[in-house]
């Protein structure tokens, strides 16, 4: 008995010691100190050296936490366990957060670099007056194809996906709005349609795509495309960027007839405690030099006009990721359609997943 007690005691002591060391390694700055800034962002979505540069320039200590889905972020902000000072939700989630009164109104006079944002990315439906959000990155939904298996001319439109040539060779991203959306666009409908008949028709058309589909996956899509496991993938431009960087056979197309235009934006949650630091960081990230450095590192498209000019020509003129004006016109931003319509999209998509293949 004594032996057991002693060993239990020793184990507890060791754990306590390890915990102390871990705390020491983390640095002694607590979240309550005035000179901190808590950022809540997607994983690997900022150039790390910019955070250190900001810390040096301003003396704030940055605590950087990450999430992997808009919904997870929503829940955490709603419950308010941590008081995040900045978060980076996507478009539809911004309207949802706004409707739930979880966002703080921006004082744009405190952002002297806000003028660098290209006006075409402002006043979107999710935040018509940009009172709550500052665009961070934007992108599209499109088709990634491997030139080992597919010729460029064979895959330029959404309808090309239905070609019998691609039997069992297409990977789709597991996202109801996007996959239902591409079917809607191929039928000439809006990606934001609330017409149940249009949605049913789009789902019926998707069912015919069944034999061509290899799998419906999420993050793993990147890996499979890089490993030449499938000829065609449907995903977002940000993911495509990473795939193209790792496999030179891959290319990205945004079909001309239309596609989704998505945004990730900075917002300040209502619960933020270090607003001064938040504004300082926003302005810092809006500076053309920093925004350009970040965009070159992340590879997504920047909405910052002045920063885009600073990017290397190879990136700036890449039509795959910076579509020209006429192509931009056909891109549609998702609107928050309300819970019951979103449910309808998801139910139809689930049905498609079950019966189609």
């Amino acid at each position: 008995m004594k032996k057991i007690l002693w060993s239990a005691f020793t184990i507890l002591l060791i754990c306590f010691g390890l915990n102390l060391t871990a705390k020491k390694l983390d640095g002694n700055v607590s979240a309550n100190s005035k000179r901190t800034l808590i950022i809540y962002n997607w994983g690997d979505y900022i150039k790390p050296s910019l955070l250190t540069k900001f810390e040096k320039q301003t003396g704030y200590h940055v605590i950087y936490e990450t999430f992997d889905s808009n919904e997870a972020m929503y829940t955490k902000i709603q419950q308010g366990g941590t008081n995040y000072d900045l978060a980076v939700p996507s478009d539809y989630m911004i309207s949802k957060l706004r409707k739930a009164h979880l966002l703080d109104r921006l004082d744009r006079r405190r952002l002297k670099n806000f003028k660098n944002i290209d006006p075409i990315f402002l006043h979107q439906s999710f935040d018509p007056k940009n009172n709550y959000s500052v665009p961070y990155f934007w992108g599209t939904l499109g088709i990634i194809y491997n030139d080992k298996f597919v010729k460029a001319s064979e895959i330029q439109h959404w309808n090309d996906l239905w070609s019998p040539k691609f039997r069992h060779n297409i990977l789709l991203v597991d996202s109801a709005r996007d996959i239902m959306g591409l079917s809607l666009v191929s039928l000439g409908d809006s990606m934001n349609t609330t017409n149940s008949l249009d949605l049913k028709l789009a789902k019926t058309k998707l069912d015919e795509l069944g034999p061509n589909i290899k799998a419906i996956v999420s993050d793993e899509l990147k890996m499979y495309m890089i490993q030449n496991d499938a000829a065609i993938g449907v995903s977002w431009s940000g993911e495509a960027r990473e795939m193209l960087d790792s496999n030179s056979h891959l290319h990205y197309v945004v079909p001309k007839e239309g596609s989704n235009l998505w945004f990730d934006n900075f917002v300040i949650p209502k619960t933020a405690r270090h607003k001064k630091a938040a504004y300082a960081f926003l302005d810092f990230m809006l500076e053309p030099k920093n925004a350009a450095e970040n965009a070159a590192y992340i590879g997504y498209a920047t909405p910052n006009r002045a920063a885009k000019k600073l990017l290397p020509a190879s990136l700036r003129n890449d039509r795959q990721f910076y579509p020209n004006q006429s192509a931009m016109k056909h891109l549609q931003v998702y609107r928050d359609l309300g819970p019951s319509k979103v449910q309808e999209y998801n139910d139809l998509f689930l049905e498609f997943k079950m019966y189609a293949h």
Binding site: Y74, D174, A215, I216, S218, N228, P339, Q343, N346, M354
Partner: protein, 269 residues
Amino acid sequence: MKKNRLFFLLPYSLWILLFVIAPMILIAFDAFTGSHGEFTWSNFVQFFSDTTFLRMTLNSFWYAFLITVITLLISYPMAYILSHMKNQQFWLLLIILPTWINLLLKAYAFIGIFARDGLVNHFLSFFGIGPANILFTDFAFIFVATYIEIPFMILPIYNAICDIDPALINAARDLGASKWQVLGKIIWPLSRSGVESGIQAVFIPSLSLFMLTRLIGGNRVITLGTAIEEYFLTTMNWHMGSTIGVVLIVLMLIVMLTTNRKRHHQEVR
């Protein structure tokens, strides 16, 4: 003395209250309320009138059944052989070892093995059978699920077989029973309890598998687990998600009751 016992009972009852009973009540509450918090049966009406849900339930049952049967077919002989081996502790350790590794890591390892450029396809093309599509098939899904569940089937069966008094087997042999008769009339009936708890330990978790359906099944296999994930995380419709949860809990209870009753029956006889 009585007071003392109550005191020791406190942490356990608190645990059960907070982590077993309270969550069940919350799920049931969500399942019986609508989006405005009013009492309603409509979630259940929707579940049982929607062919998609019914098909999903059947799917879950079918795959769980297949996984359980295959696991049992592999595990029973293995447990039997194991109980007659020399270094039993060592072999047991080898069987338990994979359960120490996280489920997701094992799934990712299988992606590497089954992929077009993976180990199995290299092996196949060596014999000229060319790269085959293995990943994202029913076969791959059931294979990986079976692999993961096998330890949970072997252990209870192994324990049950080890508990059989060797005198019984010797007596049967002395009375002229053949090897197969011993197996069918002595060992199998006496190890039934182990088989039953093994079935419970495999069938019930298999009903709600969900990560594997996407990672290995490529969303070709849709189970109730997939639907619960979608309702809670994507559409945030917790009421419908809870309804599916309640249905699943009821199904599991039915499975447990039916497997337990048989054993009870036997003891009476």
